[in-house]
Amino acid sequence: MRDPFLILEEETESLANHVQRQLHAARTYKDALIGKLERRGLAGDVHLWQPSPDPAAEMDVVASVGDTLEERLQFLGCYFCLQFLRMNLACIDSLRLNLISPLDRSAVERQFMEQAGVNFRKLSGSYMKKLLDVFLEGQEAPAYVIIGVGTKADQDDIDVGVIDDGGSGRQRLNDAVGLMSREMLRYATTLHFHISEHVGPKGFSAAIAEYLEMLNKAVHDFVIISEMLNGALIFGDETIFREFRTQVVSRYYHRPGKDPKWHVGYLRGILGEVRSLIGRPLGRECIHPKDDGLRMLKGILSALKTTHGVEEVNAWRIIDGLQMKTPWNRELYARLSKALSFLEVFRYVYQLVVAQEEEIFLDDEAMQQNLDQVAEILGYRHVGTVRPGMHLLVDYYQHIQNVRKDVDTLSSEATDHLKETTVFADMFDPDYPGNVAEDFARRSAFFRGTTFWRDILEMLTLDEGRLLKRYLEDLDSLSPTARERIVESIAACAEFAPGTVMAFLVILAGNASCEGCGALFTELHAAFRAKIRTVPYAALKVIELFYRRPQLVNRYLLNVGADSARDLSELLAAEVWDPEVALWRDKLARLVDVHGRTSRYFKRFLERVGEGYPSCLTVLEDQAALRDTSRGVLAAVDAEDDPDSKKKRLGDFYDLEFFRMGLATLNGAPASQIDSEFTEAADTYLANLFEVCRRQVDETTRFRVATHDLLAIYATGGLGREQAYDDDFDLMMLLNTSHEEVRSYANRIAAKMNAEIIKRGTLPHYRFADHFGHYVTTLDELVGFLSIEREDAFVDKSQLLEARMIVGTQGFEREFRTRVIEPFVFNMSDDYVSRMRDEIESRHKDARERGRPADNVKDGTGGMRDILMLLLMYKALCRLWEPVNSRLLSSLAAVDRQHRSELVFLSGALEFFKNLRNAYRMAVGAEDHLRPEYLHIVASAMGLDYDDEEEAGNRLLLAYRGCTTQVAEIVAEAAGRLVQSGAECTTD
């Protein structure tokens, strides 16, 4: 017969390396143990090579054959190790068998895990009890109970609590527990005494009175409370355990009519933890079943069991209990139960056959193979090119996704419960007799360290902020010292829950009109800034907050100044260990940077996008992802049922595109690219908006007015020239009919468009509307208007020359050109260019006489307008129809060879001005007058980096001024030439 130990060694090769410890102990002591058992005739009473039906009884036998204490301990350790190895091998075999073709995989997984827990608890509990019996033999010790406070099947460590009756001989019990812990570390697994470490005197055990004393003071350590709530008796005095549950544990359950502070405090702690876990990013190089899903799942179960009075301690049975109590959540709990089974069994098998580690790195082939091994035990097989481990990971992420979604839902239910049961509930009553600010601070001291305050924040904003107003009134009535103390106490929450303080600040900022909000905002913000600098791992906390609630962080940044943005930047400069967290740190740093170097003009879009599409705040660097979002939103317009929703979506599309292009501008994208993209987006927006508004008008009139070839919308001004970021949209809505019904119809469409465009923060200007008194102008009206000779007619003609059709037909375009442009502009080009030349000269002269610096990028001498006016003169003389921009200048340079170098220079200058203007608008403000003190920011956005900020600004200003001087000279000379000799319009 082969040596059974050799067989065991061979079989355990399928288990993880950590079983070497048990093999080492078994190898060392087995022969001595077997020898002693045989000599005493007890070999038949002990199972050494098969799983024992009664390990406790067999341990008595094993201990009895040791002649010395040391030998008894060695034999017990050896016996434990042999049983432990057999138990685990049997476990794997049983799981493999049951998962070959299960009818209900989850049921098998649950049953397996529950049985594995029972088996391990039976073996380890028997061992622990026997050890304590040995160490306490013949000694007086207090009554005690050992409770298990962790996952029953966990073999990596065993979390226990030791509760005694406080009687004499405590030190002996403590010594015995210490020795038991030593033996467990040698042969079994580490014991952890988290509860006892924090309660009572220095030692492993504590009495109920000591628990009460410690837990009456504060509630911040929700980990201890969770352990107590889920503690199960392993062995010892059942009376003490019952007393412990009655006196200590039951207080954390919802008990109507009794002081709720313990229950509420626990919920504030555990829900904060759950929310924080939901908000943690999933790793890219490793998975972590506990942090990815299990911990938040067990956390919410623990919270809800106290809410609904479920006494169970086993997670599956808690779910069963909650399903009974809240049948409307039956499906959700069924999903969670499946996820729990999957994640537990996966983690268990991984630890059994690969390593007793929580983090599972998947970054090399060895680990992939290990994962395949786990997957195969769990019934996954190779399918085509896909390895078992990959199949397992697909299921893993599906369950993780379910857990995160469902736990989020349940935490909202727990929030509603908190609102009803909170110790602050009486303060919500308008007739509350005390001082809300003072009483809130006093009562909340008990909850210091807890992180979940969403219920209170929500209450503050209800009923038009009634509670907030009362809070502020009461705060104002306090002495300055008392007020300062309260403000400090709120700011102190930043240590555990910076998001709560930020959310409160955002509420205060959002109620700036309310009396007292502004003052409290200023005080609290100053205290918060001071506090956050001192908080350990503040960067990590803020990064997690950003991952979970980018919208909140964005709102906070929108309401605070550049100094606070700098604070955050400095905070984020701290070293971050985890690469995934570092990735999110960089994303947040980008957002902070964008806040720190953008204009209010851009921030309007940052705010709107942040509110509607907060995920965009996390991909600021990714133009493709942002574009995908805006395209998706545009595609969703058609799917919306009602016109208002369609218009809302269209507005979102415009905002998203503006936001995206703004970011590109800040990153140095050239004006040619931005202009082109902006024009496409704006045209798409306006054309679609016209369609939606038209349909809306059709629905109200119940018939559609035929407008084919009769109606067109033209963009003029900046949008007509395909120029980005103008303050307004210059539009012309033209009709080729004087029919009153059509005009009325078109006017109603224009009115609806107008109302919508204004929401985007861009004013629509309808050219000629002020003259004719309605949005729509007929071609007849336009012809009549232009037929009257006026000094300033060249202004209107310039608008017409810049016009670019957005909505309409080619037929209309032909009509417009034939009836308006050709007779009044092209055929009168001599007069037009002459007046334009006069205007240029007049503007230059005026600027000289006033001595104004030419620092207005649009209207300054030698600025954009000079070049654009010159181009319009060319257009009129050469009868051109292309938009007025650098491309046209390049085309003209190709034709007018004699003045090619000047035209090429103007083309470059126009691009430079546009780049400068675009960057200025995004970084500083929507104004054309350049402020030298901000030009370094613009230089940075344009990619003109210098070491010294001031130098960068000065150089940009000098470059700009140098350019305008040359432009002014060239334009003045060219304008005169065009009037004198006309333009070279074609190549000979």
């Binding site: 993880a16 390396n17 950590h18 070497q20 410890r21 080492h24 102990a25 979390d159 403590n174 010594d175 210490g178 020795l179 812990s181 030593r182 570390l185 040698r186 580490t190 952890h192 005494f193 988290h194 470490e197 924090h198 220095k202 030692g203 492993f204 911040h220 350590d221 929700f222 980990v223 201890i224 702690g269 933890e273 924080s276 690969v354 390593a355 007793q356 580690e357 983090e359 790195f361 970054d363 090399d364 082939e365 060895a366 680990m367 193979q369 290990n370 360290g449 555990f496 350990p536 791992y537 990590l540 906390k541 701290a574 070293e575 260990w577 985890d578 690469p579």
Partner: protein, 187 residues
């Protein structure tokens, strides 16, 4: 009177400090015939990003498993140095990762600042083995647990197929500690 050596490994979650603590404790208790306990942070602070593992090694029974007068503090973040340096006994050692810790408050202890994480990257190609580089340095600095015992504990703790890279990390740390000793002798 026997000896009692208290070690605290501190830093951020994800740096493998709990595993490092378990390895040192198991090496002492299982492979080196000493007595050891290991405790680790579980409370809210651990959930807030901090990580702490404590090992007490002795040749006598250990009646209280919590470290209070540290013979060695390993700090892998600035926050952990700031929080725990006060617990280091006179003449104790403060070991910090020079890439992650900028400053150590002055005190009557020896400060050893070494590029722990960078060594893991340079020598093993994996930043996650920084914990075992640190275990190697601690083994060399304290000379309380035999290196062979630590290697056995490492083999028994890490996933199959990764033993070599983890042992390489440990040995890099051990060599760093030995070169420090040599430098000291040279002085």
């Amino acid at each position: 009177m026997g000896f009692r050596c208290e070690i605290r490994l501190s830093g951020a979650g994800g740096q493998g400090l709990l595993l490092a603590g378990k390895i040192i404790a198991e090496a002492a208790a299982i492979y080196d015939g000493k007595l050891a306990t290991q405790a680790q942070s579980y409370g809210p602070e651990a959930r807030g990003g901090a990580s702490k593992s404590e090992v007490v090694i002795s040749d006598e029974d250990i009646d209280y498993p919590v470290a209070t007068h540290l013979d060695l503090l390993l700090a892998m973040t600035q926050e952990s140095v700031d929080a725990y340096v006060g617990d280091v006994r006179n003449g104790g050692i403060v070991l910090v990762d020079s890439g992650l810790v900028d400053s150590v408050p002055q005190g009557s202890y020896r400060v050893v600042s070494l590029p722990i994480s960078q060594t893991a990257i340079d020598e093993v190609g994996k930043g996650v083995t920084a914990n075992l580089v640190a275990v190697g340095i601690i083994t060399g600095l304290l000379d309380v647990v035999k290196a062979a015992a630590i290697e056995s504990a490492i083999r028994a703790r890490v996933p199959r197929g990764t033993e070599d890279s983890n042992l390489k990390a440990f040995r890099s740390g051990l060599a760093m500690a030995k070169s420090l000793s040599t430098e000291s002798t040279g002085e």
